[in-house]
Amino acid sequence: MPDQSQICSDLISISFVLNGKRINVSVDPSETALMALREDLCLTGTKEGCGIGECGACSIIVDGKVVNSCLTLAAQLDGREVMTVEGIASDAAGQCLQRAFAETGGVQCGFCTPGMLLSSYALLKQNPNPSREQIIEAISGNICRCTGYIQIIEAIEKASTDLLNSNSEEK
């Protein structure tokens, strides 16, 4: 957490779209995006697992790309479009992923889950029908210690199928 005594005068104002809503917030220049989300904006769904970009628990989506929020400065979010796990249910892709994770056993302790969801959401947005290899590549930066990944991979495959089916039904 930033030392308030030193930074009050140095706070910078940023503005970005967070889960579909524009927000304005003042952040410390040295503050990470993870800290800003969790502490300043009280969105604690994004997790800190290692703080050095190794585990992916802090994954968020910035302008369609997955980034480690622990390695991103809050100031870098200025002008961007950001999605966290709290915004994942906003569309069909996110909902399909949530349902598939629940139904296939893709959630055990749940600490990696927000990051896994965001990595797989970004994948499905780019590539609605990914191969197993592409899924593995997409979540290779997200560590899970509980599931052995298999049911997570199955969940993403299922979500992809469900999403394609629901899209074709709509058409």
Binding site: G45, C50, G51, A102, V107, Q108
Partner: protein, 758 residues
Amino acid sequence: MTEKNSQIQAGSSVGKNLIRVGAWERLAGQARFCADIKMEGMAHVVVVRSSKHHALIKSINLDKARNSRGCLGIFTSRDIPGKNRFGIINKDQFLLAEDKVRCKGDPIAIVVGETLSEAQKAAQLIQISYQELPSIFDPEEALRPQAVKIHEKGNLLGSRVIKKGNPDEAFSKSEIIIERYYETSHVEHAYLEPDAGAAMIDEDGILTIFASTQNPHYDLKDVCDLLNLDESKVRIIQSPTGGGFGSKLDLNVQGFVGLAAWLLKRPVKMVYSREESFLCTSKRHPLKIWYRSGATKDGRLLAADVKIIGDTGAYASYGLAVVTRAAVHASGPYEIPNIRIESIFAYTNNPMSGAMRGFGVPQIAFAHESQMDLIAESLKLNPIEIRLRNSLRVGSQTATGQQLDASVGIAKTIESIKPYYDEARNKGPVLRNHKRYGIGTASMFYGIGNTGVQNPSTAQIELEKDGSVILYSGAADIGQGSSTVLAQIAAQELNLDPSTIKLVIADTGRTTSAGATSASRQTYISGNAILDATKKLKDVLVTHAANKLKIPRQRLEIKNYSVVDRKNEQKGITFEQLATIMSRTGVPLKWQGFFDPDTTPLDSETGSGKPYGAYAYASHVAEVMVDTLTGEVEVLKVVAAHDVGRAINPENVRGQIYGGVVMGLGFALMEEFFPGKTESLKDYHIPTCADVPQIVPIIVEEFEPTGPFGAKGVGEPALIPTAPAIMNAIADALGVRIYKLPANLERVMAACVLSKES
């Protein structure tokens, strides 16, 4: 549970894939893990830790730190109101060091700050001067008479001897004797959620601690002793817990946040960084194993002589449990008539080793399964065949002399993997020049629950006045899914939709002890406690219904929260009506259940006794490709057959198997924690999804008569055979065996060089 789970038909909940309790809140980012807790006026706690492996503390200067901005308080051992000792088995840990530190990371003081950075800044201003002592990092060295004493009572933690038959005579009759030495390394649990906790004093003056924990009722006892508080003054609530694998059985942050909140009368929070979690939480015990096996020329095991020396590090933690469990399981799942096993653990100045998924069995299984392959190889027997020939059966006696009466599924697990083994053996993939393909198998048995000691679980089930049902259990669900399984067990007995049962879990203010979430025990032991409570409630419900409806009990059944006439379902009485009748007539609505497995203590001289009420069994096959130019091992496929008694929730069982296999793969190939060197996930690698092989889980259901609906357990067994199966596959690929875990690039390359030479 939410209505989203209502796909489950009432009354048929056992064997169904009920969606995990808590899954939806985790998927929405709404689960509040400890690090997510925010309270009005919440301060932050950091710990000042030893930078020395072994030293006397000469002085602690707090003056500068005390005056640091935002510093609310600094506490050392002198500020602890109660007894400054804790530990799950041996009370040898200090919440804050007194005169001495025994390993790097030993806690010396806690600093509480208005903000985290203020606490951290103040902590940096604390000056500690030490007088260094000689350090010991090897358990054999620690056991030498002249070794410096790490604890006052000496460096021996404990030992366990198991004797059966006449091993000397059996070895003299053995037609083949295989003797080898094996070693395993320190392993880090690396759960995704670093340890965390928060504490506050509630409106009734109760110190309430939220913790990421595997055993809230144990935490309660040690916190009360540390703070000199009555158990009625402290409440531990398990927060959503991001994995544990054994390390969150220890009191990690609970004492620190409890002390700070109690002394300052302020809400506090503490979250370990990953580095702190690596530095000061327990590790898997590294074992040195000398293993001598004797067999006949047709591959029948006659004798085993095993010596195990383990390093428990600076504190005991669950060390004594590992000493014994490793010894008890040293035979493997085989009938060996003549046994001599000696297991000795010593203190060193390494980080504390404690419980980690399997309690020493993954280590000893590496040895006994390597031995099995070595015997098979020298007798030119098929590795599957030699295991089948020796496997435990109904009527067999284990090394401790326990006769197995039922649910001995080892042979079935071997038979289930055999077709996969044979298929792989017959086909084999096309090889490139520098790549070698290998197949390996391994088996294990695992006693469910604590070893030869009482380890009961208690639970309650309550009928509410509106007819709904609440299940109370102290069993901490750390991600493995116990809450879901326990609800399914109660629902099965009451013929209800399990998703409609309300759950109160792992809160010492509202639940009674279920014992630890360890030793793969919650399904079997807490499941039975819940079943006991549920049966009592059911009995009372049916009795009152019979009385009211004037229908014999035998004709009644429970359906959809009513007790109805089997012959005429229109005729019945609802739970709500029954609740009213019961309350009016002074009959309790809440019923208590209890279960303790039928065990006996192990004899101190011979180790004989009945350590467990039930055993799980498993066999795996691993296929690997070894790159002889790089030493890289690719695990292509693992087939994992597990006898779980009865799969209460098959998807959950598969989840445990997948997770266990992948953790076992890490244990086999990459995970090695170097005390004092390994700092974080940057230098300690655990498997990512890119490392995951094809995994074929096979659930074998060999009904356990003492289990709830026949169930046993799977959490730890899932991991155990994987590493030995992979090691046997590497040996098959190279014709050279590796005797130390993990088989990292260096060790595999060394084996490749030997392989080429031969």
